[in-house]
């Protein structure tokens, strides 16, 4: 069953069309990656899907409900979507544990002890339990991103959105994070990820959507898209990101 169905999505910023009629489907348990050059509209697409950015036109059906119609409870919708940011976006005045329990306590209305227990369990899964009392400023980039992933996952969202989760990391830390997201992929967590990183894309996706100038050009599994596709834009993109690795 489709968890998210995007129909003819258009987004204009000051007259510039960033998304030009995008159609995408994401099924429950599926992991889809969106790739494309900078400025192709992939991050905008992701932010439109939880209404952090308001679409100009088109429809987004989430769990069978059109979330672009007026009167939708935007907060309830977002509580059902985990979001991981490129620059981690951890709350700097809170410890790792508090970063995770804040949403559990204030949104999920869990008692502090239960929220801590849940945080401990999730942190253990990504090897971050021993860092739970540390503040974000005292963590490495890879640790910060793992904590951010746990913060999103602990809320038991229907889907996890990842916006360039490895772009701000050096190769070693990036690998740490890829390993964690790969584990989620193997656990059949529904994911929608935007990335430049072909290594990440390959290890966490059922299929890859390639975007160019606000339009979806192709969708296929990693091996075929990277190695067999004859669209010159895809070839050029793949060669450029491989060069930068």
């Amino acid at each position: 069953m489709a968890l998210i169905e995007v129909q003819d999505l258009v987004k204009r910023f000051d007259g510039k069309e960033v998304l030009k009629g995008v159609n995408v489907l994401l099924s429950e348990g599926q992991s889809k990656v969106v790739m494309g050059a900078s400025g192709c509209g992939k991050s905008t697409l992701l932010k439109c899907l939880n209404l952090l950015v308001a679409p100009t036109s088109g429809r987004i059906i989430f769990k069978g409900e059109d979330i672009t119609r007026p009167g939708v409870d935007i907060h309830r919708l977002r509580q059902d979507i985990g979001f991981v940011f490129q620059h981690f976006a951890l709350y700097t005045h809170l410890t790792v544990e508090e970063n995770i329990t804040l949403g559990l306590r204030k949104i999920r209305k869990m008692k502090t002890a239960a929220a801590r227990e849940k945080a401990a369990f999730e942190l253990e899964r990504v090897g971050m339990f021993e860092h739970r009392k540390k503040y974000p400023a005292h963590l490495s980039g890879g640790q910060k991103q793992r904590a951010a992933i746990v913060r999103a996952l602990a809320m038991d969202p229907a889907v996890l959105f990842l916006d360039e989760p490895t772009s701000a990391l050096d190769p070693q830390m990036s690998r740490e994070v890829v390993t964690v997201i790969n584990k989620l992929y193997l656990d059949n967590i529904t994911m929608f990820c935007v990335t430049h990183d072909p290594f990440l894309a390959k290890y966490i996706s059922d299929s890859i959507v390639f975007m160019h100038e606000g339009v979806i050009v192709a969708e296929d599994i990693a091996e075929r898209l990277f190695y067999e596709h004859d669209d010159p834009r895809i070839r050029q993109f793949y060669l450029s990101v491989i060069d930068h690795r």
């Binding site: 979507i81 976006a89 949104i107 005292h138 951010a148």
Partner: protein, 225 residues
């Protein structure tokens, strides 16, 4: 014993009463000014454009005009409209409006330095704006503003000395009265200055302690030793 010291002892009940009034005014305006500053800061972040414009004008007016004008306007001007307020009420209202504007500006400055991805993350998590303000924005901006906010408390203490111009019997008003009785202007005002300095030193010590305790992780003062 020195005649001046004898005068001080003689007038000590009056001096202490003035000191009490000074500290009371400082405490009330510091607390009310902090609450007011937070309120104004909250409104400046809201979606309502008119409200944002209004709060901006409010801040500009109170920062851009002298405190004494506000006090005189309320104490001597309002009675002409039939509104008569006590010196204490005028001092509290006038100072609070003024201090709130400054405190709001300090909080806005701290907010400008904040990593805004946290606010986007809070929105993405499903927090409402009020929750984001209370749980994410305010704790950080307050902590980042501790040096400015505590300097404002020091300023508040010193500014109380202006209140004697609207007949508020503060510490400085008492000292002035003593000086005009014994004509020991130099000694009396030096003594007044020393008392203010002692009080400010206490606030400074408490402020530095608070700064150390509330510094955001990663932004603690570097040890230059």
């Amino acid at each position: 014993m020195d005649a001046f010291l004898q005068d001080l002892i003689h007038y000590s009940p009056q001096i202490l009463a003035g000191l009490k009034n000074t500290l009371l005014l400082m405490a009330v305006m510091s607390i009310a000014g902090l609450a007011g500053g937070i309120g104004v800061f909250y409104l400046t972040l809201g979606k309502n454009r008119l409200l944002r414009w209004g709060t901006e004008r409010y801040i500009s007016f109170f920062i851009g005009t002298p405190l004494l004008v506000h006090l005189f306007l309320m104490y001597y001007g309002l009675p002409q409209l039939g509104i008569r307020l006590s010196a204490f009420a005028v001092a509290v209202i006038g100072f609070t409006l003024n201090v709130s504007a400054y405190n709001a500006r300090y909080l806005m400055t701290a907010y400008n330095g904040l990593d805004k991805t946290q606010i986007e993350a809070a929105r993405a998590q499903g927090f409402r704006f009020g929750q984001t303000f209370r749980l994410i924005i305010l704790p950080q901006t307050l902590r980042l503003s501790v040096p400015s906010l505590t300097n404002q408390v020091i300023q508040n203490l010193k500014d109380t000395s202006v209140a004697f111009l609207i007949q508020y019997p503060d510490f400085f008003a008492q000292m002035q009265e003593i000086a005009s009785t014994n004509f020991q202007f130099l000694k009396t005002y030096v003594a007044a200055g020393l008392v203010y300095l002692a009080l400010v030193s206490v606030i400074v010590a408490a402020a530095r302690r608070l700064e150390r305790k509330t510094a955001l992780p990663g932004l603690e003062t570097l040890d230059h030793a």
